[in-house]
């Protein structure tokens, strides 16, 4: 019978919400909260022997937290560790990802569960991650996927996309029994034989973005200016990160015709911000946008701008920001946007 240990956060362990997010890690014997359903799905051959939980703030913010958690996990002598499901919860996802990565590096088999857009996905490498639903109301199906992956791993199978695997799958060097030249000739023959898909290296898939229909006349609509150049008020009140941003912010432009140097700065970590700080319009072209608005070339300039830092942003986060910006602007009836990209 295999021993499984389950990592979760304070909320799913039943301690409470934000008020208990600072809880240090603890271990309890047996399944807790959603772990009970997970045990059912795992069946009789696998015993969920312990649950380790930790407050999201503690796990994500306290130095050494992940080590503490891994120690508690190891004490329970697991054959497999499962973490989550974290859904789209950012801090929980980060915690799951980091715990899973640390457990994997400690040589213990592990699988985490979270939504494909969770920023914690990248943190989990080299541990595998399977997809969960977006929110806790999708717990049932998410646990089914997680249990399926757990059983597959314990059964000695590989985890693939069919098990719900998401995230970057590391490609590692392997030794083949034939040299590359021979494999190339074989691939040529396969292709001549009609197999147009065969390849050893999958082509990268970048999202196809369907272009929006054009605006007939920008002079009749609301236009927004946006930036990923991390231009923020000088004291960075929203604490935008300089790299690997996990958030975006909105700042008002109502009644603002120009950006005075000294009142704004770029916190982007990917380039020298001297020029931006000398003249913030080099990042956010408010001055000329206002001119064009006065001249009727822009109907109305949206009275705020959206900003993030496009430096080492994970594809998952960037995708999420884009979706959220579109929703935010659409809700405000913005019909066109100009984004400065650095």
């Amino acid at each position: 019978m295999s021993r499984v240990v389950h990592y979760m956060n304070q909320f799913f362990a039943g301690l409470g919400g934000e008020d208990t997010a600072g809880t240090p890690p603890e271990s309890r014997p047996g399944p807790v909260g959603p772990g009970r359903k997970l045990q059912e799905l795992l069946g009789d051959e696998h015993e969920l022997v312990a649950t380790v939980f930790c407050g999201d703030d503690y796990a994500a913010g306290e130095p050494g937290a992940v080590d503490e958690i891994v120690r508690l996990v190891q004490e329970a002598e697991p054959d497999l560790v499962v973490a989550g499901p974290a859904f789209t919860s950012g801090r929980y996802g980060l915690a799951c990802g980091r715990v899973a990565a640390a457990v994997a590096k400690a040589g213990i088999p592990v699988v985490a569960s979270m939504h494909a857009d969770n920023p914690g996905l990248e943190e989990a490498v080299p541990a595998p991650v399977v997809a969960s639903g977006e929110a806790a109301r999708r717990m049932g199906p998410s646990l089914e996927t997680l249990a399926g992956a757990a059983r597959a791993l314990l059964g000695g199978e590989e985890l693939t996309a069919e098990n719900g695997r998401i995230g970057a799958v590391p490609r590692l060097s392997r030794v083949s029994d034939r040299n590359a030249a021979t494999r190339a000739v074989e691939l040529a023959l396969a292709r001549l034989g009609g197999d147009q898909e065969a390849t050893e290296v999958p082509l990268p898939r970048f999202d196809h973005v369907a272009p929006a229909a054009p605006v007939a006349d920008p002079g009749h609509v609301t236009v927004a200016i946006l930036t990923e150049g991390a231009l923020v008020p000088d004291d960075n009140p929203g604490r935008l990160e300089s790299a690997r941003a996990t958030r975006w912010l909105r700042y008002p432009l109502e009644g603002v015709d120009a950006l005075a140097p000294g009142e704004w700065r770029s916190v982007h970590g990917g380039f020298s911000t001297t020029w931006a700080n000398e003249d913030p319009h080099r990042i956010l072209p408010l001055d000329v946008a206002r001119e064009l608005e006065r001249e009727g070339r822009i109907g109305t300039l949206f009275p705020a701008y959206l900003v993030t830092a496009g430096n080492g942003t994970s594809v998952g986060n960037a995708r999420r920001f884009g979706i959220e910006w579109a929703a935010d602007l659409h809700h405000s009836e913005v019909r066109a946007a100009v984004l400065t990209s650095t």
Partner: protein, 426 residues
């Protein structure tokens, strides 16, 4: 096979080596005389040279590896071998060529723009380089004071080719271990219904220390052209390129072209070997596109059904392979490209810098960034330190696969590939 039909390789297997009084080859034992070596290598641009053997299984590491050449000759004095360097620049690839298989002449030492390159003769890295399995006559050198580096480079190249020919000469009277007949590819379909498959070989042509020579001349401004594969055997293509060690095609590799060998091995079985096209790798984007389109036309004119495209170099060279693959596919020729993957140390980065847009069939020659630990060794040739790590060359070294000579062989010599990490709970 008649004179016009192809090349005959008279292969002499080298089983053991030594430095001795005379250069001789006796029943598999190859002796080189230091005096003969010095004479072959002598040049104004070189103050001195030394030769020493590094053999498979020994606790030896060669660092700052430059070029490697397989000892071959077509007769006394060279007989035309290495046209443009040792022999006069005339077409070759016919008649008989003597090969000392299992040996290589290897230059090692500092040249500008040369990247640190390592070969181990034992341990985990030995199987990653073809030189891990050959008896290597390592030529170390001291440049003459005031000699310009490009003259030093030229002197080494000529000297090593002369030395390689000189060594092979010792076997001229010996009975070969094997005789290999290499027919020339047919110009027209043989009517046997087999697909015509050829090799398109991109040669790096970026000027000093990053150049490849055909008939003794830089191929930089050339257009893609046919080359009889037998010419490769006779050293018509010589490497002067010292970057990207794992992605190098030394002269040795052109002499033993793996894609040509793979096609020859199945000629008449399930393919008809259609031949070889060589192409420069221009730096300029417009020139890259022109050369790629031209190469596709050349292959189409020769009635090829499929092509295996190879490169030399890093990400820039990926572009040349990808453009050619797309141009070939557009011309109705199935294209396969060989690529090393630069997926990062944990294997999760985007693997190919410039992938093809329409073609899709890619062979992986391994992960450039994957880490290796090379054990400490007793002896090192080519230099005292590994510049990359600022460590003594005999130390235990932690290096990416990128530094091992030919480990990701773009001509397809190696058995490395990449596969998605298998995740199990075992």
């Amino acid at each position: 096979m008649s004179e016009d039909d192809g090349l005959t390789r008279l292969v002499h297997q080298v089983r053991s080596v030594a430095v001795g009084e005379q250069t001789r080859f006796d029943d598999g034992h190859l002796t080189v005389s230091a005096a003969d070596a010095a004479a072959a290598l002598a040049d104004e641009a070189l103050a001195s040279t030394t030769v020493s053997w590094a053999s498979p299984g020994e606790s030896v590491r060669i660092v700052k590896v430059l070029d490697a050449v397989e000892p071959r000759t077509k007769g006394a004095g060279g007989g035309g071998i290495f046209p443009g360097f040792v022999g006069p620049p005339r077409v070759q690839g016919r008649g008989e060529t003597h090969v000392l298989r299992g040996a290589a002449v290897v230059t090692a030492g500092y040249l500008p723009r040369a990247q640190e390159a390592v070969v181990d003769l034992s341990g985990p890295a030995a199987t990653l380089s073809p030189l891990g399995a050959t008896h290597n006559l390592v030529v170390e050198f001291t440049p003459a004071e005031g000699a310009p580096w490009d003259e030093v480079d030229r002197a080494l190249r000529r000297g090593v080719l002369r030395l390689a020919a000189r060594l092979a000469e010792a076997a001229l009277e010996a009975a070969p271990s094997q005789v290999e007949e290499l027919p020339s590819p047919a110009a027209r379909p043989a009517g046997d219904g087999l697909p015509r498959v050829g090799a398109v070989t991109n040669l790096q042509t970026q000027g000093a220390f990053k150049d490849v020579f055909v008939y003794g001349r830089s191929f930089g401004s050339g257009l893609p052209t046919f080359l009889d594969p037998g010419e490769l055997d006779d050293g018509a293509v010589v490497s002067g390129q010292y970057g990207h060690p794992s992605l190098k095609n030394p002269t040795f590799m052109h002499q033993n072209h793996p894609v040509v060998a793979a096609l020859r091995a199945r000629h008449g079985v399930d393919v008809s070997f259609a031949g070889l096209v060589i192409s420069p790798e221009p730096v300029d984007a417009g020139q890259k596109e022109l050369v790629s389109a031209h190469a596709a036309r050349v292959c189409a004119a020769a009635g090829w059904d499929a092509a295996v495209v190879t490169k030399e170099g890093g990400g820039n060279a990926d572009g040349d392979v990808s453009l050619k693959m797309d141009a070939l596919e557009d011309a109705g020729i199935a294209a396969v490209g060989l690529f090393a993957e630069m997926a990062g140390a944990d294997g999760t980065g985007p693997p190919i810098v410039v992938p093809p847009e329409r073609a899709t069939a890619m062979v992986s020659t391994g992960n450039y960034d994957e880490h290796l630990v090379l054990p400490a060794v007793e002896r090192a040739l080519g230099g005292d330190t590994v510049a990359l790590l600022d460590q003594p060359a005999t130390d235990e070294l932690q290096l990416p696969t990128a530094v091992v000579y030919c480990a990701l062989s773009p001509l397809g010599w190696g058995n490395l590939t990449c596969a998605p990490e298998a995740v199990t709970a075992q």
